[in-house]
């Protein structure tokens, strides 16, 4: 694993009495937690417990029914998680007609934040994810696991503080899962934060949130 040359600025993520609803049904109620640089939150729970809703809410796609989740920097300024976050959901955000390289170059341009540029190229990111051979293939030709790896490569191309990962291990083989775990560890080592919903253990030290569990 190549070490990233920088570490993220100091932030803390504060979720205060968060509540989310989906179709009128309360899924998450009164949830408060706090993460600092290098912390991870692993969310587990049965199907329909609200893992995806919570993650989409933290990423800013859903508005919270109550409460707030914000990033606060050292000066005390508040920022949204979305503006510093990478979201990896069930879809990869890749256009099937474009090659892996074209897709990644686009997301690198789109998601890079001012002052947080990465000098990594799409090829280098694909190499790091173990699929250098797919760079010039249209994404439509790739297997589910390869598509997943292409999708994950954008995490390396545009450094962002918070990784929000919804079932990141889906479609990955054992090697791919190991690779992802090491990427996550590396990110946490640089002072990043990870919020992941998962069924399988990620093998990292983390805060653990079980939705639907007895309080």
């Amino acid at each position: 694993m190549s070490k990233s040359p920088f570490s993220f600025p100091v932030f803390r993520l504060e979720a205060e009495r968060l509540a989310f609803r989906r179709g009128g049904r309360a899924l998450v109620e009164n949830l408060s937690f706090r993460l600092t640089n290098g912390d991870a939150l692993v969310v587990t729970g049965a199907n329909g417990a609200g893992k995806s809703t919570l993650l989409r809410g933290l990423a800013g796609f859903l508005s919270a029914y109550a409460g707030s989740a914000l990033l606060i920097d050292q000066a005390g300024d508040q920022e949204t998680i979305a503006s510093h976050g990478h979201y990896v959901g069930h879809q990869e955000g890749s256009k099937p007609a474009l090659t892996a390289r074209e897709n990644l170059a686009f997301w690198q341009a789109m998601l890079t934040l001012p002052g947080l540029t990465s000098d990594m190229t799409p090829e280098a990111a694909l190499t790091q994810l173990g699929v250098p051979q797919v760079a010039d293939l249209p994404v439509a030709y790739l297997s589910a696991g390869q598509k997943r790896r292409v999708g994950l490569a954008r995490l390396l191309l545009a450094p962002r503080l918070v990784w929000i990962l919804d079932e990141p291990l889906t479609a990955l083989d054992a090697a791919g899962q190991g690779l992802l775990t090491s990427l996550i560890k590396n990110h946490l080592g640089c002072g990043g934060m990870v919020i992941a919903a998962t069924h399988a253990p990620l093998g990292i030290d983390s805060l653990h949130l079980e939705l639907g569990g007895k309080p």
Partner: protein, 224 residues
């Protein structure tokens, strides 16, 4: 090093459109077919055709513009791109504007360029050809932007195309009225070209300023 986000978005949109079914060719073929079937419906009387020709071209352009619009945001919603764009530093309103611009370059602009040719088939005189082409050039961006509102409202619907047309066609009436007025100006001595044309330009500019906000609001709410 890396290109600006909006330039990257624009070139991505153009690339995707070019690789998927040719992009502009489909719109032009559809345009051609609409122009072709009209004489079958109303008869090949050239006098009549030259009188209603500008209106036929405008209706054909309206339908051809709406044709590809339902996928404008839907494809991005389905493959997850829309979510990622929401986390981008670039305001969604600008993203919407660039996507509409790219869509117009791929589908609207070719129609404008093809309009004089199809106008010849409808026996328009040279002055009318100019009027139709200019009015389409000024009016089709407004159609694309209005259509984008419908596309955003139906972004989660699998068969949103028909609903989108129902929602948007009533809103497109002013553009159609002034577009056809300007385009038919040369047909009679009493109707001037400039007043309707300038109003058409004003409508396009107003849509350009307002529609991205409506589209972005719709996308934020509908993709929840």
């Amino acid at each position: 090093m890396s290109p600006s986000p909006l330039m990257a978005l624009f070139s991505r949109e153009i690339r995707v459109a070019r690789r998927l079914g040719g992009g502009s060719t489909m719109g032009i073929i559809f345009f051609l077919i609409l122009v072709t079937i009209v004489p079958f419906a109303i008869g090949p009387d050239l006098n009549l055709l030259s009188r209603i020709g500008p209106a036929i071209l405008w209706i054909a352009a309206l339908l051809a513009t709406l044709l590809g619009l339902d996928r404008l945001f839907q494809a991005d919603h389905e493959d997850g791109s829309l979510d990622l764009m929401l986390t981008s530093d670039t305001p969604l309103e600008l993203i919407v504007l660039v996507k509409c611009l790219a869509h117009w370059v791929v589908t609207g602009l070719p129609l404008v360029i093809a309009a004089p040719l199809f106008g010849l088939m409808l026996a328009l005189d040279p002055q009318a050809l100019w009027a139709v082409t200019l009015s389409l050039l000024a009016g089709t961006p407004a159609l694309a932007l209005l259509g984008a509102i419908g596309a955003a409202l139906t972004v989660t619907l699998r068969r949103g195309g028909l609903l989108m047309a129902i929602l948007i066609l009533p809103l497109a009436i002013p553009v159609l009225i002034f577009g056809v007025s300007a385009a038919s100006a040369s047909l009679s001595a009493t109707t001037p070209f400039w007043p309707p044309f300038l109003i058409l330009c004003a409508l396009t500019l107003a849509t350009l300023a307002a529609a991205p906000f409506a589209v972005a609001a719709a996308l934020r709410h509908m993709s929840e």
